[in-house]
């Protein structure tokens, strides 16, 4: 029998994996760095919380609005961001994260420092979703997101993204609008983050500006880097590893974060492509073993 503790960990991992998949669309597919993904995760959570708590909508009626708002704000913030040079983009997205967090914390409408509480659980077929059913609901959403990403890599758009990432001038000489495609990635990525944030809000039932601060963005990026940027399963694997590891290393409670950060450092230093990326150790070993069989 699964303990409720394990279910909690599992649910959080699945919710985060959705956000990391969104980040993968921006960083992995479009090659645009984003260090402010937690801001969009937060925008999703706050929008859903406000729509359900203050406007009295159900989770399901709120969901399309949440995803649309997430994508729309992604579009609005993406437009000026992608016009700047790459290094600026990294800093701009950090800035977006700090500003969005500050807005949540200082504007009374967003509950100020106290955050928003009393967020209702999701109702599905007259069942209040929590525990195992909620876990499967999140898993269902994750599957949809992965399916979209998978479809995306088979679509013509992914070829265009490759082209832009490798030779932007040549790509635009072939009729591809870099701005439009980068924005597309931003909108897709941020609306996935918003979906993830909405699930998070209805799971925790209480949210606070601190849940969406810059270190959360760094966490998302670490998961992506660990799993493999630009791959389909990398985001999921990275999230699972970084979600489960701290639990395994619970006895070493004091050294946990250090272990975490050193792991990230070693990964990026020796395997920048991540566990599933090109030229990765794990992939080589796997393919060699399979060849032998």
């Amino acid at each position: 029998m699964l303990s409720s503790y394990a279910i909690t960990i599992g649910t959080i991992i699945v919710i985060q994996a959705i956000a990391v998949c969104g980040l993968n669309v921006i960083v992995g597919f479009a090659g645009q760095i984003s260090l402010g993904h937690a801001a969009f995760f937060g925008i999703g959570a706050y929008t859903s919380a406000i729509l359900t708590v203050k406007a009295g909508l159900s989770f399901w009626t709120a969901l399309p609005i949440v995803i649309a708002i997430g994508g729309l704000i992604g579009l609005m913030l993406g437009l000026p961001s992608i016009r700047v040079r790459e290094d600026f983009l990294a800093i701009t997205t950090i800035g977006i994260n700090f500003i969005v967090e500050a807005l949540f914390r200082y504007i009374p409408f967003f509950g100020g420092a106290l955050g928003i509480g009393g967020i209702p659980r999701i109702m599905l077929f007259d069942i209040r979703m929590k525990g195992i059913p909620f876990f499967f609901l999140c898993l269902f959403f994750l599957c949809i997101v992965i399916l979209i990403c998978w479809w995306f890599t088979r679509s013509w758009a992914s070829l265009a993204f490759y082209a832009i990432r490798e030779e932007e001038t040549a790509a635009s000489a072939m009729g591809i609008s870099p701005v439009r495609f980068k924005l597309l990635a931003f909108v897709m990525g941020t609306s996935m983050a918003a979906l993830s944030g909405s699930l998070y809000a209805h799971y925790m039932q209480f949210i606070n500006a601190g849940d969406f601060s810059f270190p959360v963005s760094v966490g998302f990026l670490s998961m992506l880097v660990l799993g493999g940027i630009g791959t389909i399963w990398g985001p999921v694997i990275g999230t699972v590893i970084l979600g489960v590891l701290p639990e395994l290393f619970r006895p070493l409670v004091d050294y946990r974060i250090l272990f975490y950060t050193l792991l990230l450092l070693v990964m990026i230093r020796f395997q920048p492509g991540g566990l599933l990326g090109e030229k990765s150790l794990v992939k080589n070993i796997l393919s060699r073993t399979f060849k032998r069989c």
Binding site: D87, F98, A102, T261, I268, R269
Partner: protein, 288 residues
Amino acid sequence: MNTFFEQLLNGIAMGSIYALVTLGLTLVYGVMRILHVAHAAVYTVGAYMGLFLYSSTGSLLLAFFGASIGCAILGVGIERFVYFPLMKYPPFVPLIGSIAVMLSIEEIMRLIAGPYILTFPAKLPFPDLSFSGIYVSSTIIAVYSITALILLVLWYISSRTELGLAMRAVSQDISISGAMGINSHLIVSITFVIGSAVAAIAGILVGIYYNQVYPTMGAVPAYKTLALIVVGGLGSVSGGVIASMILGVAETMLIGYANIPFPRDALAFIAMIGVLMWRSEGIMGSSR
């Protein structure tokens, strides 16, 4: 009116410290095109080293020198073991590496020195002054004079020495200057030595100024100074210094003096986005 002037002086002191941190970041960006987030961790280590040396020897001079040397070694270590091997990847790879270094060092400091706030009760060799009712503490005088000294020395190095010329050549184009016979990797390392030593001094100054040294003291400056180098124009030293001064004063005056209920740490980023909209190359940057 007196509080106004006292806050203004505080603001300039804050700006000076920002400037010292931003300086290293700008220099590193200039030669390597890397956003050196871990610079703020070097600054934290500097503050701890300074505090340790001061409390064990009682000499402030020794604390400044020792911490500078220690941080210079740390800075070059980061460059050799993390940044240099990652130069061939897209810029976000070394950036993530830098964030990882930053967080690791923060954690190591927490494990070594404990998560508490330590005090830095330094006796400064400067007098407390008072002009017609405006009180100027010895810490502020120390911050002003040390910042001025460092800026002067750096100005001399960059404009009057061969080293400065080589550094400028490397920041123009690292491969061409290599072909011209400049040992560009050595120049990059020297840049890290200078930047990190200055960061150590900034760390000690902050420690004394606020009388606080703690493991996460670098967390906010790490990202705020990134905004500052954008506002100043990426790679422009004078722009970075000016932007730092303005931010220090603006933060202190708007939030400390005028009491505007506003998130202090978001101000730098709001200024940055404003500058990017208005003049994307920064206040002192060159347009390309």
